[in-house]
Symmetry: C2
Protein backbone atom coordinates (compact mmCIF):
# COMPACT_ATOMS: atom_id res chain seq x y z
CA UNK A 1 0.00 0.00 0.00
CA UNK A 2 1.05 3.59 -0.53
CA UNK A 3 3.31 5.40 1.88
CA UNK A 4 1.75 8.71 2.90
CA UNK A 5 3.34 11.79 4.47
CA UNK A 6 1.00 14.02 6.41
CA UNK A 7 1.78 17.73 6.10
CA UNK A 8 0.10 19.36 9.09
CA UNK A 9 -0.97 18.08 12.50
CA UNK A 10 -4.06 20.19 13.20
CA UNK A 11 -7.66 19.08 13.53
CA UNK A 12 -8.17 17.91 9.94
CA UNK A 13 -4.74 16.24 9.73
CA UNK A 14 -5.32 14.30 12.96
CA UNK A 15 -8.72 12.94 11.96
CA UNK A 16 -7.72 11.99 8.41
CA UNK A 17 -4.26 10.56 9.19
CA UNK A 18 -5.62 8.47 12.06
CA UNK A 19 -8.42 7.09 9.91
CA UNK A 20 -6.07 6.31 7.00
CA UNK A 21 -3.70 4.58 9.44
CA UNK A 22 -6.62 2.52 10.79
CA UNK A 23 -7.54 1.61 7.20
CA UNK A 24 -4.08 0.10 6.73
CA UNK A 25 -2.20 2.95 5.07
CA UNK A 26 1.32 3.71 6.23
CA UNK A 27 1.68 7.30 7.50
CA UNK A 28 5.47 7.26 7.43
CA UNK A 29 6.07 10.87 8.51
CA UNK A 30 4.22 13.85 10.00
CA UNK A 31 5.36 17.42 9.43
CA UNK A 32 4.22 20.36 11.53
CA UNK A 33 5.90 23.59 12.65
CA UNK A 34 4.49 22.84 16.11
CA UNK A 35 6.66 20.10 17.59
CA UNK A 36 4.22 18.72 20.21
CA UNK A 37 1.47 18.42 17.57
CA UNK A 38 3.80 16.69 15.10
CA UNK A 39 5.09 14.30 17.76
CA UNK A 40 1.63 13.50 19.10
CA UNK A 41 0.12 12.67 15.71
CA UNK A 42 3.22 10.73 14.60
CA UNK A 43 2.92 8.71 17.80
CA UNK A 44 -0.72 7.91 17.04
CA UNK A 45 -0.06 6.74 13.49
CA UNK A 46 3.31 5.08 14.11
CA UNK A 47 5.42 7.36 11.91
CA UNK A 48 8.37 9.71 12.39
CA UNK A 49 7.94 13.46 12.70
CA UNK A 50 9.73 16.66 11.79
CA UNK A 51 9.27 20.41 12.18
CA UNK A 52 11.73 21.19 9.36
CA UNK A 53 10.29 21.34 5.84
CA UNK A 54 13.76 20.50 4.46
CA UNK A 55 13.66 17.21 6.40
CA UNK A 56 10.46 15.97 4.77
CA UNK A 57 11.17 12.61 3.12
CA UNK A 58 11.06 13.12 -0.69
CA UNK A 59 10.45 9.42 -1.50
CA UNK A 60 6.83 8.90 -0.36
CA UNK A 61 3.93 8.03 -2.67
CA UNK A 62 1.42 10.56 -1.38
CA UNK A 63 1.81 13.98 0.27
CA UNK A 64 -1.38 14.95 2.09
CA UNK A 65 -1.44 18.68 2.93
CA UNK A 66 -3.92 19.37 5.74
CA UNK A 67 -2.79 22.87 6.68
CA UNK A 68 -4.19 26.40 6.87
CA UNK A 69 -4.78 27.72 3.35
CA UNK A 70 -2.44 30.66 3.89
CA UNK A 71 0.64 28.40 4.25
CA UNK A 72 -0.35 25.89 1.57
CA UNK A 73 1.28 27.59 -1.47
CA UNK A 74 4.60 28.04 0.36
CA UNK A 75 4.69 24.42 1.56
CA UNK A 76 3.66 23.10 -1.84
CA UNK A 77 6.62 24.97 -3.33
CA UNK A 78 9.13 23.64 -0.77
CA UNK A 79 8.31 19.95 -0.97
CA UNK A 80 10.07 18.56 -4.04
CA UNK A 81 8.69 15.18 -5.02
CA UNK A 82 7.62 15.65 -8.63
CA UNK A 83 6.48 12.05 -9.28
CA UNK A 84 4.42 11.60 -6.12
CA UNK A 85 0.73 12.43 -5.71
CA UNK A 86 0.12 15.76 -3.94
CA UNK A 87 -3.28 16.29 -2.31
CA UNK A 88 -4.69 19.04 -0.19
CA UNK A 89 -7.83 19.09 1.94
CA UNK A 90 -8.87 22.72 1.51
CA UNK A 91 -12.32 23.93 0.52
CA UNK A 92 -11.21 27.19 -0.99
CA UNK A 93 -7.80 26.62 -2.58
CA UNK A 94 -7.71 25.46 -6.19
CA UNK A 95 -6.13 22.17 -7.19
CA UNK A 96 -3.65 24.14 -9.33
CA UNK A 97 -1.64 25.23 -6.28
CA UNK A 98 0.40 22.09 -7.14
CA UNK A 99 0.43 22.55 -10.92
CA UNK A 100 4.02 23.72 -11.37
CA UNK A 101 5.57 21.27 -8.91
CA UNK A 102 4.00 17.89 -9.52
CA UNK A 103 2.72 15.62 -12.28
CA UNK A 104 -0.11 14.17 -10.22
CA UNK A 105 -2.16 16.24 -7.86
CA UNK A 106 -5.64 16.74 -6.54
CA UNK A 107 -7.95 17.47 -3.63
CA UNK A 108 -9.49 15.37 -0.84
CA UNK A 109 -11.99 17.70 0.81
CA UNK A 110 -14.09 16.45 3.72
CA UNK A 111 -17.23 18.58 4.24
CA UNK A 112 -16.99 18.41 8.01
CA UNK A 113 -16.09 20.34 11.19
CA UNK A 114 -13.18 18.83 13.09
CA UNK A 115 -12.21 19.56 16.70
CA UNK A 116 -9.40 17.50 18.19
CA UNK A 117 -11.28 16.43 21.28
CA UNK A 118 -14.43 15.27 19.47
CA UNK A 119 -14.59 12.04 17.41
CA UNK A 120 -16.29 12.42 14.03
CA UNK A 121 -18.16 9.83 11.97
CA UNK A 122 -15.99 9.94 8.83
CA UNK A 123 -17.87 7.14 7.00
CA UNK A 124 -20.98 9.40 6.94
CA UNK A 125 -19.02 12.53 5.99
CA UNK A 126 -19.31 13.75 2.40
CA UNK A 127 -15.91 13.84 0.66
CA UNK A 128 -15.42 15.91 -2.50
CA UNK A 129 -12.48 14.91 -4.66
CA UNK A 130 -10.63 16.25 -7.67
CA UNK A 131 -7.60 15.05 -9.61
CA UNK A 132 -5.59 16.48 -12.52
CA UNK A 133 -5.36 13.15 -14.41
CA UNK A 134 -6.71 9.62 -14.35
CA UNK A 135 -3.97 8.44 -12.00
CA UNK A 136 -4.65 11.23 -9.48
CA UNK A 137 -8.44 10.80 -9.75
CA UNK A 138 -8.19 7.04 -9.24
CA UNK A 139 -5.84 7.32 -6.28
CA UNK A 140 -7.74 10.09 -4.49
CA UNK A 141 -10.96 8.12 -4.94
CA UNK A 142 -9.28 5.07 -3.41
CA UNK A 143 -8.11 7.08 -0.38
CA UNK A 144 -11.46 8.86 0.07
CA UNK A 145 -13.33 5.56 -0.22
CA UNK A 146 -11.17 4.11 2.56
CA UNK A 147 -12.48 6.92 4.77
CA UNK A 148 -16.12 7.36 3.73
CA UNK A 149 -19.09 5.83 1.93
CA UNK A 150 -19.90 9.23 0.41
CA UNK A 151 -17.37 10.31 -2.21
CA UNK A 152 -18.05 12.49 -5.24
CA UNK A 153 -16.04 14.53 -7.73
CA UNK A 154 -16.31 18.33 -7.68
CA UNK A 155 -14.11 20.90 -9.42
CA UNK A 156 -12.31 23.75 -7.65
CA UNK A 157 -14.97 26.35 -8.55
CA UNK A 158 -17.79 24.22 -7.18
CA UNK A 159 -15.78 23.34 -4.09
CA UNK A 160 -15.18 27.01 -3.30
CA UNK A 161 -18.94 27.65 -3.36
CA UNK A 162 -19.55 24.53 -1.28
CA UNK A 163 -17.04 25.75 1.31
CA UNK A 164 -18.70 29.17 1.42
CA UNK A 165 -22.09 27.52 2.00
CA UNK A 166 -20.52 25.42 4.76
CA UNK A 167 -19.19 28.53 6.51
CA UNK A 168 -22.80 29.76 6.74
CA UNK A 169 -24.33 26.39 7.69
CA UNK A 170 -21.64 25.37 10.18
CA UNK A 171 -19.21 28.08 11.40
CA UNK A 172 -21.70 30.95 11.45
CA UNK A 173 -24.45 28.71 12.84
CA UNK A 174 -22.10 27.69 15.63
CA UNK A 175 -21.38 31.35 16.27
CA UNK A 176 -25.11 31.99 16.63
CA UNK A 177 -25.13 29.20 19.25
CA UNK A 178 -22.24 31.05 20.92
CA UNK A 179 -24.26 34.28 20.97
CA UNK A 180 -27.32 32.43 22.32
CA UNK A 181 -25.19 30.86 25.06
CA UNK A 182 -23.87 34.32 25.98
CA UNK A 183 -27.38 35.82 26.19
CA UNK A 184 -28.65 32.89 28.26
CA UNK A 185 -25.68 33.07 30.65
CA UNK A 186 -26.56 36.69 31.35
CA UNK A 187 -30.09 35.61 32.26
CA UNK A 188 -28.78 32.74 34.42
CA UNK A 189 -30.28 30.12 32.08
CA UNK A 190 -28.34 26.99 31.12
CA UNK A 191 -27.59 26.64 27.39
CA UNK A 192 -28.83 23.03 27.48
CA UNK A 193 -32.48 24.26 27.47
CA UNK A 194 -31.82 25.28 23.86
CA UNK A 195 -30.92 21.77 22.62
CA UNK A 196 -34.44 20.42 21.89
CA UNK A 197 -35.14 23.60 19.88
CA UNK A 198 -31.84 23.27 18.00
CA UNK A 199 -32.65 19.60 17.31
CA UNK A 200 -36.07 20.46 15.92
CA UNK A 201 -34.59 23.25 13.77
CA UNK A 202 -32.25 20.76 12.10
CA UNK A 203 -34.90 18.01 11.99
CA UNK A 204 -37.30 20.28 10.10
CA UNK A 205 -34.94 20.81 7.16
CA UNK A 206 -35.13 17.04 6.45
CA UNK A 207 -38.75 17.37 5.43
CA UNK A 208 -39.16 21.09 4.65
CA UNK A 209 -36.85 23.45 2.75
CA UNK A 210 -35.20 26.03 5.04
CA UNK A 211 -37.44 28.57 3.29
CA UNK A 212 -40.63 26.75 4.30
CA UNK A 213 -39.28 25.90 7.77
CA UNK A 214 -38.71 29.54 8.77
CA UNK A 215 -40.61 30.84 11.84
CA UNK A 216 -40.18 33.71 14.29
CA UNK A 217 -40.57 37.48 14.50
CA UNK A 218 -38.58 38.26 11.32
CA UNK A 219 -40.69 36.14 8.96
CA UNK A 220 -43.89 37.34 10.71
CA UNK A 221 -42.51 40.88 10.43
CA UNK A 222 -43.44 41.49 14.07
CA UNK A 223 -41.83 44.93 14.48
CA UNK A 224 -42.94 45.20 18.10
CA UNK A 225 -40.81 42.18 19.13
CA UNK A 226 -37.97 43.04 16.75
CA UNK A 227 -37.66 46.47 18.38
CA UNK A 228 -37.66 44.95 21.89
CA UNK A 229 -34.90 42.54 20.85
CA UNK A 230 -32.81 45.30 19.27
CA UNK A 231 -33.08 47.30 22.51
CA UNK A 232 -31.80 44.31 24.52
CA UNK A 233 -28.78 44.03 22.20
CA UNK A 234 -27.92 47.73 22.09
CA UNK A 235 -24.71 47.62 24.15
CA UNK A 236 -23.39 44.27 22.90
CA UNK A 237 -20.60 44.54 20.30
CA UNK A 238 -22.26 44.50 16.82
CA UNK A 239 -25.04 42.10 17.84
CA UNK A 240 -27.87 44.58 17.15
CA UNK A 241 -26.50 45.16 13.64
CA UNK A 242 -26.20 41.40 13.06
CA UNK A 243 -29.78 40.94 14.33
CA UNK A 244 -31.07 43.71 12.09
CA UNK A 245 -29.27 42.47 8.95
CA UNK A 246 -30.43 38.87 9.38
CA UNK A 247 -33.98 40.05 10.11
CA UNK A 248 -33.97 42.31 7.04
CA UNK A 249 -32.60 39.51 4.84
CA UNK A 250 -35.33 37.12 6.04
CA UNK A 251 -37.87 39.84 5.29
CA UNK A 252 -36.39 40.48 1.83
CA UNK A 253 -36.51 36.82 0.88
CA UNK A 254 -39.95 36.10 2.31
CA UNK A 255 -41.86 39.31 1.61
CA UNK A 256 -40.28 40.92 -1.42
CA UNK A 257 -40.56 38.05 -3.85
CA UNK A 258 -36.84 37.28 -3.82
CA UNK A 259 -37.56 33.66 -2.97
CA UNK A 260 -34.34 31.88 -4.00
Amino acid sequence: MDRIICIGAGNVACHLASALHESGYEISQVFSRTEPSARSLAGQVGGSHTTDPAAIDPTADVYLYAVTDSVLPELAARIVAPDALHLHTSGSTGMDVFARRARHYGVLYPLQTFSKSKPVCLPETNFFIEGNDDFARGKVRELASALSHHVQELDSTGRRRLHLAAVFACNFTNHLYEIAAELLAEAGIDFSVMLPLIDETTAKIRTLSPYKAQTGPAVRNDRNIIDKHLALLAAKRELATIYRLLTDDIHTIHHKGQNP
Copy 2:
Protein backbone atom coordinates in the same frame (compact mmCIF):
# COMPACT_ATOMS: atom_id res chain seq x y z
CA MET B 1 -61.68 19.02 33.41
CA ASP B 2 -61.34 22.63 32.39
CA ARG B 3 -62.99 24.01 29.31
CA ILE B 4 -60.45 25.86 27.16
CA ILE B 5 -60.95 28.40 24.39
CA CYS B 6 -58.14 28.69 21.92
CA ILE B 7 -57.52 32.22 20.65
CA GLY B 8 -55.59 31.82 17.42
CA ALA B 9 -55.32 29.02 14.88
CA GLY B 10 -51.76 29.40 13.64
CA ASN B 11 -48.78 27.07 14.06
CA VAL B 12 -48.47 27.33 17.85
CA ALA B 13 -52.23 27.22 18.43
CA CYS B 14 -52.62 24.09 16.29
CA HIS B 15 -49.86 22.15 18.00
CA LEU B 16 -50.87 23.09 21.55
CA ALA B 17 -54.66 22.80 21.14
CA SER B 18 -54.34 19.40 19.45
CA ALA B 19 -52.06 18.10 22.18
CA LEU B 20 -54.31 19.43 24.97
CA HIS B 21 -57.31 17.83 23.24
CA GLU B 22 -55.42 14.52 23.06
CA SER B 23 -54.62 14.84 26.77
CA GLY B 24 -58.36 14.97 27.54
CA TYR B 25 -58.96 18.71 27.77
CA GLU B 26 -62.07 20.14 26.13
CA ILE B 27 -61.23 22.79 23.52
CA SER B 28 -64.77 24.14 23.31
CA GLN B 29 -64.13 26.98 20.85
CA VAL B 30 -61.47 28.25 18.45
CA PHE B 31 -61.23 31.92 17.46
CA SER B 32 -59.29 33.17 14.45
CA ARG B 33 -59.79 36.05 12.01
CA THR B 34 -58.99 33.52 9.27
CA GLU B 35 -62.11 31.40 8.84
CA PRO B 36 -60.51 28.33 7.17
CA SER B 37 -57.86 28.13 9.92
CA ALA B 38 -60.46 28.49 12.70
CA ARG B 39 -62.70 25.86 11.11
CA SER B 40 -59.87 23.42 10.47
CA LEU B 41 -58.49 23.53 14.02
CA ALA B 42 -61.99 23.44 15.55
CA GLY B 43 -62.67 20.34 13.44
CA GLN B 44 -59.51 18.68 14.73
CA VAL B 45 -60.26 19.32 18.38
CA GLY B 46 -64.05 18.87 18.24
CA GLY B 47 -65.03 22.43 19.18
CA SER B 48 -66.98 25.26 17.59
CA HIS B 49 -65.28 28.16 15.83
CA THR B 50 -65.76 31.87 15.27
CA THR B 51 -64.05 34.73 13.46
CA ASP B 52 -65.85 37.38 15.53
CA PRO B 53 -64.19 38.39 18.81
CA ALA B 54 -67.60 39.46 20.14
CA ALA B 55 -68.83 35.87 19.69
CA ILE B 56 -66.16 34.32 21.91
CA ASP B 57 -67.88 32.38 24.70
CA PRO B 58 -67.31 34.32 27.99
CA THR B 59 -67.97 31.28 30.25
CA ALA B 60 -64.87 29.12 29.69
CA ASP B 61 -62.29 28.28 32.37
CA VAL B 62 -59.16 29.01 30.37
CA TYR B 63 -58.43 31.39 27.46
CA LEU B 64 -55.25 30.36 25.67
CA TYR B 65 -53.94 33.16 23.43
CA ALA B 66 -51.59 31.74 20.78
CA VAL B 67 -51.48 34.73 18.43
CA THR B 68 -48.94 37.14 16.97
CA ASP B 69 -47.65 39.46 19.71
CA SER B 70 -48.84 42.56 17.87
CA VAL B 71 -52.54 41.59 18.19
CA LEU B 72 -52.29 40.17 21.71
CA PRO B 73 -53.00 43.41 23.69
CA GLU B 74 -56.07 44.23 21.59
CA LEU B 75 -57.52 40.72 21.90
CA ALA B 76 -56.77 40.59 25.64
CA ALA B 77 -58.76 43.82 26.01
CA ARG B 78 -61.77 42.56 24.01
CA ILE B 79 -62.30 39.22 25.75
CA VAL B 80 -64.19 39.89 28.95
CA ALA B 81 -64.04 36.93 31.32
CA PRO B 82 -62.59 38.39 34.52
CA ASP B 83 -62.75 35.22 36.61
CA ALA B 84 -61.22 32.85 34.06
CA LEU B 85 -57.52 32.07 33.65
CA HIS B 86 -55.90 33.98 30.76
CA LEU B 87 -52.67 32.57 29.31
CA HIS B 88 -50.54 33.56 26.37
CA THR B 89 -47.74 31.65 24.65
CA SER B 90 -45.47 34.52 23.69
CA GLY B 91 -41.76 34.71 24.39
CA SER B 92 -41.51 38.47 24.38
CA THR B 93 -44.78 39.83 25.80
CA GLY B 94 -44.98 40.30 29.54
CA MET B 95 -47.57 38.49 31.64
CA ASP B 96 -49.00 41.88 32.64
CA VAL B 97 -50.73 42.29 29.26
CA PHE B 98 -53.67 40.70 31.13
CA ALA B 99 -53.26 42.60 34.40
CA ARG B 100 -56.17 45.04 34.07
CA ARG B 101 -58.67 42.54 32.68
CA ALA B 102 -58.36 39.38 34.70
CA ARG B 103 -57.76 38.10 38.22
CA HIS B 104 -55.77 35.04 37.13
CA TYR B 105 -53.32 35.12 34.31
CA GLY B 106 -49.99 33.80 33.18
CA VAL B 107 -47.80 32.44 30.40
CA LEU B 108 -47.33 29.02 28.81
CA TYR B 109 -44.28 29.44 26.57
CA PRO B 110 -42.97 26.49 24.56
CA LEU B 111 -39.35 26.97 23.48
CA GLN B 112 -39.92 25.42 20.08
CA THR B 113 -40.30 26.10 16.34
CA PHE B 114 -43.69 25.09 14.98
CA SER B 115 -44.61 24.62 11.33
CA LYS B 116 -48.06 23.30 10.55
CA SER B 117 -46.93 20.48 8.29
CA LYS B 118 -44.26 19.11 10.67
CA PRO B 119 -45.10 17.13 13.83
CA VAL B 120 -43.13 18.20 16.91
CA CYS B 121 -42.15 16.17 19.96
CA LEU B 122 -43.90 18.27 22.61
CA PRO B 123 -42.99 15.97 25.55
CA GLU B 124 -39.30 16.80 24.94
CA THR B 125 -39.96 20.52 24.43
CA ASN B 126 -38.97 22.88 27.26
CA PHE B 127 -41.98 24.86 28.54
CA PHE B 128 -41.47 28.04 30.57
CA ILE B 129 -44.40 29.09 32.72
CA GLU B 130 -45.43 32.08 34.79
CA GLY B 131 -48.54 32.90 36.82
CA ASN B 132 -49.67 35.96 38.74
CA ASP B 133 -50.93 34.00 41.78
CA ASP B 134 -50.93 30.49 43.22
CA PHE B 135 -54.07 29.54 41.34
CA ALA B 136 -52.63 30.65 37.99
CA ARG B 137 -49.24 29.06 38.68
CA GLY B 138 -50.85 25.76 39.69
CA LYS B 139 -53.17 25.66 36.69
CA VAL B 140 -50.54 26.61 34.10
CA ARG B 141 -48.19 23.98 35.54
CA GLU B 142 -50.97 21.39 35.23
CA LEU B 143 -51.58 22.31 31.57
CA ALA B 144 -47.86 22.44 30.71
CA SER B 145 -47.26 19.10 32.43
CA ALA B 146 -50.00 17.53 30.30
CA LEU B 147 -47.94 18.57 27.26
CA SER B 148 -44.32 18.07 28.30
CA HIS B 149 -41.96 16.44 30.79
CA HIS B 150 -39.88 19.63 30.92
CA VAL B 151 -41.66 22.50 32.68
CA GLN B 152 -40.02 25.30 34.64
CA GLU B 153 -40.99 28.72 35.95
CA LEU B 154 -39.39 31.82 34.42
CA ASP B 155 -40.41 35.46 34.82
CA SER B 156 -41.21 37.82 31.93
CA THR B 157 -37.74 39.43 31.92
CA GLY B 158 -35.95 36.08 31.73
CA ARG B 159 -38.37 34.82 29.10
CA ARG B 160 -37.70 37.83 26.88
CA ARG B 161 -33.95 37.05 26.97
CA LEU B 162 -34.65 33.38 26.34
CA HIS B 163 -36.75 34.27 23.32
CA LEU B 164 -33.99 36.53 21.98
CA ALA B 165 -31.46 33.70 22.38
CA ALA B 166 -33.88 31.38 20.56
CA VAL B 167 -34.15 33.78 17.62
CA PHE B 168 -30.37 33.46 17.19
CA ALA B 169 -30.20 29.68 17.78
CA CYS B 170 -33.27 28.79 15.71
CA ASN B 171 -34.66 31.47 13.34
CA PHE B 172 -31.32 32.98 12.34
CA THR B 173 -29.66 29.57 12.17
CA ASN B 174 -32.43 28.43 9.84
CA HIS B 175 -31.85 31.53 7.74
CA LEU B 176 -28.16 30.61 7.44
CA TYR B 177 -29.34 27.20 6.17
CA GLU B 178 -31.51 29.12 3.68
CA ILE B 179 -28.48 31.12 2.49
CA ALA B 180 -26.38 27.92 2.25
CA ALA B 181 -29.14 26.27 0.19
CA GLU B 182 -29.23 29.30 -2.12
CA LEU B 183 -25.42 29.24 -2.64
CA LEU B 184 -25.45 25.49 -3.27
CA ALA B 185 -28.33 25.74 -5.75
CA GLU B 186 -26.28 28.22 -7.78
CA ALA B 187 -23.45 25.68 -7.90
CA GLY B 188 -25.86 22.87 -8.84
CA ILE B 189 -25.21 21.05 -5.54
CA ASP B 190 -28.05 19.46 -3.58
CA PHE B 191 -28.60 20.93 -0.08
CA SER B 192 -28.71 17.40 1.37
CA VAL B 193 -24.88 17.14 1.17
CA MET B 194 -24.85 19.68 4.01
CA LEU B 195 -26.84 17.51 6.46
CA PRO B 196 -23.98 15.42 7.94
CA LEU B 197 -22.05 18.65 8.57
CA ILE B 198 -25.09 20.29 10.17
CA ASP B 199 -25.59 17.17 12.32
CA GLU B 200 -21.98 17.23 13.50
CA THR B 201 -22.22 20.98 14.25
CA THR B 202 -25.15 20.37 16.60
CA ALA B 203 -23.64 17.13 17.99
CA LYS B 204 -20.47 18.96 19.01
CA ILE B 205 -22.25 21.41 21.30
CA ARG B 206 -23.36 18.45 23.46
CA THR B 207 -19.77 17.84 24.53
CA LEU B 208 -18.03 21.15 23.81
CA SER B 209 -19.18 24.71 24.44
CA PRO B 210 -19.99 26.58 21.18
CA TYR B 211 -16.87 28.63 21.95
CA LYS B 212 -14.62 25.55 21.98
CA ALA B 213 -16.45 23.94 19.05
CA GLN B 214 -15.76 26.82 16.65
CA THR B 215 -13.78 26.03 13.46
CA GLY B 216 -13.35 27.64 10.05
CA PRO B 217 -11.66 30.61 8.39
CA ALA B 218 -12.99 33.25 10.84
CA VAL B 219 -11.60 31.63 14.00
CA ARG B 220 -8.33 30.82 12.17
CA ASN B 221 -8.33 34.42 10.90
CA ASP B 222 -7.53 33.15 7.41
CA ARG B 223 -7.85 36.50 5.54
CA ASN B 224 -7.01 34.88 2.22
CA ILE B 225 -10.14 32.67 2.31
CA ILE B 226 -12.29 35.33 3.93
CA ASP B 227 -11.49 37.72 1.05
CA LYS B 228 -12.30 35.03 -1.55
CA HIS B 229 -15.63 34.39 0.14
CA LEU B 230 -16.49 38.09 0.34
CA ALA B 231 -15.78 38.40 -3.39
CA LEU B 232 -18.18 35.52 -4.15
CA LEU B 233 -20.92 37.28 -2.14
CA ALA B 234 -20.40 40.76 -3.58
CA ALA B 235 -23.58 41.01 -5.66
CA LYS B 236 -25.91 39.13 -3.29
CA ARG B 237 -28.21 41.38 -1.22
CA GLU B 238 -26.41 42.13 2.10
CA LEU B 239 -24.75 38.72 2.33
CA ALA B 240 -21.19 40.08 2.18
CA THR B 241 -21.99 42.44 5.07
CA ILE B 242 -23.55 39.60 7.07
CA TYR B 243 -20.47 37.43 6.36
CA ARG B 244 -18.11 40.22 7.41
CA LEU B 245 -19.99 41.06 10.63
CA LEU B 246 -20.22 37.43 11.76
CA THR B 247 -16.55 36.86 10.89
CA ASP B 248 -15.52 40.00 12.80
CA ASP B 249 -17.62 38.99 15.82
CA ILE B 250 -16.02 35.52 15.88
CA HIS B 251 -12.64 37.23 15.68
CA THR B 252 -13.52 39.67 18.48
CA ILE B 253 -14.63 36.90 20.81
CA HIS B 254 -11.78 34.51 20.05
CA HIS B 255 -8.82 36.83 19.57
CA LYS B 256 -9.50 39.96 21.56
CA GLY B 257 -10.06 38.41 24.96
CA GLN B 258 -13.82 39.06 24.93
CA ASN B 259 -14.48 35.39 25.65
CA PRO B 260 -18.02 35.44 27.06
